[in-house]
């Protein structure tokens, strides 16, 4: 349902992505792995329209979206949890959630559903986002994106710097959404976290596709993990 093909993109003269292909289907979890600086975040920003590709296509539900105005892309139903969370730090928990609800004009029912998934946030609605703990901030970033009721969700290194208990909560959330038919692109550096949720894994090296494997292939032969990600 979401497909990148032949993407060349970067920042000004500094090209980062070269002929990159990625795709994810309804109810599928695609994990994207690669060393620091490989271009994973750049690929997510290209999907969101935050970076205009020099060439190549981003298609969502058979529609070319890379030429759309960036602010219209999330309204199609693409939820984004950026690397480092990027909460609106001086806004309260409730206001951060409100921004997510505004994106696709969702109402109280969505809000209640999302707060049910993360009860800790419900207890801290009036608190500023930057006063939350790391785990709570990640929950808020997730909640904000789920307020769109997205059909595709992008998660950029959500477990970075978090304790194992939070990692487990994110894993559960990903699996629940997958069960509801959401297509998920998960950028993740940790092999165990990938193994727990992935259907397919795309390895990126220096902005290029290095290899893509199903999780079954990787269970049989885990060498690509070491080859493309290990040091």
């Amino acid at each position: 349902m979401l497909k990148l093909s032949g993407i060349n993109a970067g920042y000004g003269k500094n090209q980062v992505l070269f002929e990159l292909d990625l795709s994810v289907d309804k109810g599928e979890v695609l994990c994207v792995m690669g060393r620091n600086g490989a271009g994973k975040t750049t690929a997510m920003k290209t999907i969101m329209g935050l970076i205009q590709p020099n060439s190549g296509q981003v298609e969502f539900e058979k529609r070319k979206i890379s030429k759309l105005a960036p602010h219209t892309i999330p309204k199609l139903g693409i939820g984004y949890i950026p690397q480092g969370r990027r909460l609106f730090s001086e806004l309260t928990v409730a206001e951060n959630i409100e921004i997510g609800l505004m994106t696709r004009k969702k109402g109280k029912a969505t809000r209640d559903k999302v707060l049910d998934m993360f009860p800790r946030l419900g207890e801290r609605l009036k608190q500023r986002a930057d006063t939350l703990s790391g785990g709570e901030q990640q929950q808020l970033a997730t909640a904000r994106a789920l307020c769109l009721e997205p059909s595709v969700l992008l998660l950029d290194e959500p477990t970075e710097g978090l304790q194992p208990s939070m990692t487990a909560l994110i894993r559960e959330t990903v699996l629940t959404l997958k069960g509801e038919g959401v297509g998920i692109i998960l950028v993740e550096q940790r092999e165990d976290a990938v193994r727990a949720v992935a259907d397919r894994v795309a390895f990126i090296e220096n902005g290029r596709n290095a290899a893509t494997h199903t999780i079954e292939e990787l269970t049989e032969d885990p060498s690509p993990f070491r080859k493309h990600v290990g040091i």
Partner: protein, 301 residues
């Protein structure tokens, strides 16, 4: 007491003007060097509207109060769309662009309005004496000393500014539009990723910033006069206020405007205007050294 009211009038007008500058810098990271020219435009439009409307100064004033911010705001929105957007809001390029805008606006007004200062009549101007208490032989008594009179219009300026500031505060902190503005200010890229049309927000903010300067000028022009070079002082004072108050802090802007406006009013009455300017400059230097984020700013620079 007279100095106090003079100071409050200065502070009222200054806080509106500075708030416009602060909003534009806070949300867009654009240093609008032409901000004072939008103030000047407001005054000139007020004169123009008052002349058009003719005999009834109150009617002309109300028309100016509506027309000036709308026209100045529209000019700002068009500038944003034609120029600032095209240069991607690059901080250095926008400074150059707004310096250009400053000269364009100034010269256009010089060519059409002319080099003379022109007065605008106040809508109403009753002299008011303010009662004072004095300890007489018969105990504390109210009296109306000759020196403590002011005009009703000056009080109106103060009240109008407070009403406008409250309105802005309400919009920023209690409405959806305010939430969108604050989110864009904090992280424009993430705002975009959540469907906020950042370019439209920028155009709107640039327009509101100009409109605030224009409305401040309409309020003050019956007391001062409209002149094509009148934008320099409000620009300088607004910069001082924004530096002292901290960026994007409404409370800081108002308090700093009070400090600068009051001290300007009071020191100018009792000493000289030059001393007032020196004091303000010293205050800026001290804030920059000891609290670079401004007295009320929260963000690190």
């Amino acid at each position: 007491m007279l100095a106090l009211i003079e100071g409050l009038v200065q502070a009222a007008v200054l806080s509106l003007t500075a708030l416009g500058l602060s909003l534009v810098f806070g949300v867009m990271r654009v240093v609008n060097v032409a901000h004072g020219e939008f103030f000047m435009l407001g005054a000139v439009i007020a004169w123009w509207v008052a002349t058009l409307v003719g005999t009834n100064p109150a009617l002309g004033f109300i028309a100016a109060l509506i027309a000036a911010p709308i026209i100045a705001g529209l000019i700002a929105v068009i500038t944003d769309w034609l120029v600032l957007k095209r240069i991607n809001y690059d901080p250095e390029a926008t400074i150059v662009a707004t310096i250009g805008l400053l000269y364009i606006l100034q010269q256009s007004v010089l060519m059409t309005f002319g080099p003379d200062a022109r007065p605008v009549e106040a809508p109403f101007n009753t002299r008011l004496a303010i009662p004072w208490i004095e300890n007489t032989d018969a105990g504390w008594a109210l009296y109306w000393p000759w020196g403590l009179s002011t005009t009703s219009y000056k009080l109106f300026v103060i009240v109008a500014a407070i009403a406008l500031l409250s309105l802005i505060w309400y919009i920023m902190s209690r409405t959806k539009l305010g939430l969108i503005l604050r989110a864009t200010q904090l992280d424009s890229e993430t705002a975009l990723a959540f469907g906020i049309p950042v370019e439209r927000v920028y155009a709107l903010v640039f327009g509101i910033g100009a409109a605030l300067a224009a409305v401040a000028a309409v309020l003050i022009v019956p007391i001062q006069q409209a002149h094509y070079l009148m934008g320099a002082d409000p620009l300088l004072l607004s910069f001082i206020v924004v530096i002292i108050g901290g960026l994007g802090s409404l409370r800081g802007t108002v308090i700093a405007a009070l400090i600068i406006g009051m001290s300007d009013g009071i020191i100018s009455v009792f000493f000289t205007p030059t001393l007032a300017k020196i004091m303000a400059t010293l205050l800026v230097a001290m804030v920059l050294v000891y609290r670079p984020q401004g007295l009320f700013g929260t963000r690190r620079v």
